[in-house]
Symmetry: C2
Subunit: 278 residues, 2 copies
C-alpha cells in the first residue's frame, strides 16, 4: 500500500506539471491479478464508511472534479469508483456545452449552483476547467478573457474550501495510442457506438494544444486548498485504484466523526402499538 | 423466479389495499442463504444493462417513489438496490419538511422540479404522498384540502407518464414489532444513534392512523399509469429482492434500445497524433 500514496500523483503548488514526463501506462509496480483486487476491496470498504460519516456529520462536502481527454475514462471512473458510494450521498453533474442562459452569466455561475451541500459528495464530469481548455484551444474567447480565469478559479475554489467544501481535482491522463484504441472500440462495438462522436476526432487532431492547455491549468490552479492530481489512466484497473487511494487520503484529512446523539438518548421509551381495531 | 413476479406485490386499480392482510414478514418461500443470492446477482446485472440503455437512449425517465413508516428501510433500499446503478444516471431527492419557499407554492411544485430528465432514474425518498399522509394524520391541512389531493396527484402522475416518465411507487411495509427493534438499534448502536429522532416515537404512537392514511393513498392513487406496490419489508434481503424484481418488470415494459449511431460510422478515420515538438 505504501507505494501507492496519493502524493505519487501530485506535485507541490508552484511547480510545473510536464505531462510528457508522466507515463499514462504507469501501474506503480502493482500486480493487477494479485494484490490489486484486495487493495480495491479494502479501499472501497473504507471509502464507504468515510462517506457514511461525512453524510451523518453534515459538516463537510466533498467536490470531485474530473477532467480528461475524450475517452479518458471519466464515465468509467464514476461507475467503478464512485459507484461504491451510497447513491443518496452523491450527486453527479455533467457539464456540457453551456446553454443560452448559462452563457448569459459569468462562467462560474452554473458551477456554483452545482456545488454539493454539506454532507454530500459532488462529482463534476467536466467542469469550469473547460473554460480554460476547449475555450482556449478552440479560441471561443479572447486570450485576455481566458487568461484571467486561472486566478478567478483559484479564488472561487478558495471560497469553497473556506466554507467546508473539500475540493479534489483529477486529470485522467491517457496516451494518444490508448485513445485511438478506445475510439475504435466505440466505432465498432454495438453497445458503445452511441458514444461515438465525430467531434472527438477533431479534438484528437488538436491533441498537443489540449495537452499544453491542460499543463497550464494543472500548474496555475494547483493550490494548497484545491490540489490537482494527474492519474495515469491507460490501464483502467490502475486508474480506479489510484483514484480510490487519492479520495481516501482526502477523507483522512477531514475531521470526520458521527455527530452526537440527542441528549439522554437512553431515556426514551419506545411505545407499544396496540392491536388494530376493525 | 416465477414465484417472484412483481404482480405478487400489486393489485388492480380500483381494488382496496388492506395492509393487515399483507404479511410484512413474507419471503415468498425463497431461501435466503440459497437461491436468494443468485437471484439478486442475476437481477442486478440485468438492471445495470437496462439502465445503460435507458441512459443511452434518453427517451424515457424512471421515477421511483419510496414511502414507508420510519425505519421502513427507504435508505437501505436506496443503498443496496439502487446502489447497483451507475451514479451518473441516478438522482436521489429526499423530501423533508417543506421550506418556506416550498410552502408558498402548491404541494406539487417542489416535486415537479425534481422529476428526472429523460435517460435518468429519479428516486424520491418520501414524496408528494407526505401531503396525504403526515399532513392528514397530524391535521396540518383541513380535510377538504388533502382530500382533493388524491385526484390532483393522479392527474400530475398522468402528465408525467404521458411525457415519457415511467412512475413506480413502492410502499415498504413493516410490522410494528420490526419497527420497535430497529428503533432500539438506533437508540443503542453508536454508528446509528445519529438517526435516532424522538419525533419518530410520536409517529409510532399514531401507527394505525398512518396505516389508514396509507391504505387510502395506496388505493386511491393506484393507477394504470403509476401503480403502487406493497413490498413486505421486515426481512431486508427479501425487500431488496422484491424491489429489484419490480424494477426489472418496469424496465421490461419500456421499449429500450441503444440509439442508432451516427450515419456511416465506419467511414470515419481516426487521425494519428504526431510526436510532440519541444
Amino acid at each position: 500500500m505504501k507505494k501507492l500514496g496519493s502524493q505519487r500523483f501530485h506535485i507541490a503548488p508552484g511547480e510545473r506539471y510536464h505531462l510528457k514526463h508522466i507515463d499514462p501506462h504507469d501501474d506503480a509496480g502493482i500486480d493487477e491479478k494479485g494484490e490489486a483486487k484486495d487493495l480495491v476491496e479494502e479501499l472501497q470498504a473504507k471509502l464507504q464508511s468515510f462517506q457514511q460519516c461525512l453524510y451523518a456529520q453534515g459538516r463537510h462536502a466533498l467536490l470531485i472534479v474530473l477532467q480528461g481527454m475524450d475517452t479518458g475514462g471519466k464515465d468509467g471512473t464514476i461507475r467503478h469508483v464512485m459507484g461504491a458510494f451510497d447513491p443518496q450521498g452523491v450527486i453527479v453533474t455533467p457539464f456540457k456545452v453551456p446553454t443560452e442562459e448559462e452563457l448569459a452569466h459569468d462562467f462560474l455561475w452554473r458551477i456554483h449552483k452545482a456545488v454539493p451541500r454539506r454532507g454530500m459528495i459532488g462529482i463534476f464530469n467536466r467542469s469550469h476547467y473547460e473554460d480554460v481548455l476547449v475555450v482556449r484551444v478552440r479560441k471561443l474567447a479572447p486570450e485576455e478573457v481566458w487568461r484571467a480565469r486561472y486566478e478567478q478559479i483559484n479564488q472561487f475554489e478558495k471560497l469553497l474550501s473556506d466554507n467546508g467544501v473539500a475540493v479534489v481535482k483529477l486529470f485522467l491522463h491517457i496516451s494518444p495510442e490508448e485513445q485511438a484504441e478506445r475510439l475504435r472500440e466505440r466505432q465498432t462495438r454495438p453497445d458503445k457506438q452511441w458514444k461515438f462522436n465525430p467531434g472527438d476526432l477533431e479534438d484528437r487532431a488538436l491533441w498537443h494544444d489540449f495537452q499544453t492547455a491542460y499543463e497550464d491549468a494543472l500548474t496555475l490552479c494547483n493550490t494548497a486548498w484545491a490540489p490537482w492530481y494527474v492519474v495515469p489512466a491507460d490501464r483502467k484497473w490502475f486508474r480506479n485504484l489510484a483514484v480510490s487511494r487519492i479520495l481516501l487520503d482526502v477523507f483522512e484529512g477531514l475531521e470526520l466523526a458521527f455527530p452526537k446523539p440527542v441528549p439522554d438518548i437512553d431515556s426514551y421509551v419506545i411505545p407499544d402499538v396496540p392491536e388494530r381495531q376493525g
